[in-house]
Amino acid sequence: AQTVTQSQPEMSVQEAETVTLSCTYDTSESDYYLFWYKQPPSRQMILVIRQEAYKQQNATENRFSVNFQKAAKSFSLKISDSQLGDAAMYFCAYRRRGGGATNKLIFGTGTLLAVQP
């Protein structure tokens, strides 16, 4: 069975600084997606960034980038130039990819990020 582990329950960063959130996963599949979702307080989860396992290039979305290490099964999120609005719970998630594959997301326990002004 696939599992996702986030070992940092809480993190803190100063505004304008860079922070990295860690995620490891376990799977025997070769074709899958990895995601980072952000959940602001009392708001819905929104997708921050995704990575397809077959792509070697790390995904980037503005200030958000990932370090995807397929062999190590590691998928960390780097937030550059942190802003107050980045304060949220961040969830790492996994999903199998491919025809007929289940589309359920498997989540980690989340990392609560605080941004200090």
Binding site: Y33, Q44, M45, R50, L105, F107
Partner: protein, 114 residues
């Protein structure tokens, strides 16, 4: 921008009572999901629904749970006889198709069973 909505935001019920949690997915989406998060634990998949039938369910989704799309817009999760351990945040999500990578989540319903 279209959003998934859920009602109520908080539901308190007594053990043994039936509850129905409601969701309005994004209008052109075809796949619907329920997830739950017990306080301090992982977000867990419960069920996915397509073309008016369950496409996948987890071992959590036992006979006490059911889902329905009673009309063209609502998607509901019913818990027939609630237990204390059903207390959790329940999230609805939707996606355009099976192959869409993104699932869009609602804000959740906090269910408290007393």
């Amino acid at each position: 921008e279209p959003e998934v909505t859920q009602t109520p935001s908080h539901q308190v019920t007594q053990m043994g009572q039936e509850v129905i949690l409601r969701c309005v997915p994004i209008s052109n989406h075809l796949y619907f999901y329920w997830y739950r998060q017990i306080l301090g634990q992982k977000v867990e998949f419960l069920v996915s629904f397509y073309n008016n039938e369950i496409s996948e369910k987890s071992e959590i989704f036992d006979d006490q749970f059911s889902v329905e799309r009673p009309d063209g817009s609502n998607f509901t999760l019913k818990i027939r006889s609630t237990k204390l351990e059903d207390s959790a945040m329940y999230f609805c999500a939707s996606s355009e198709s099976l192959y869409s990578y993104e699932q869009y989540f609602g804000p959740g319903t906090r269910l408290t069973v007393t």
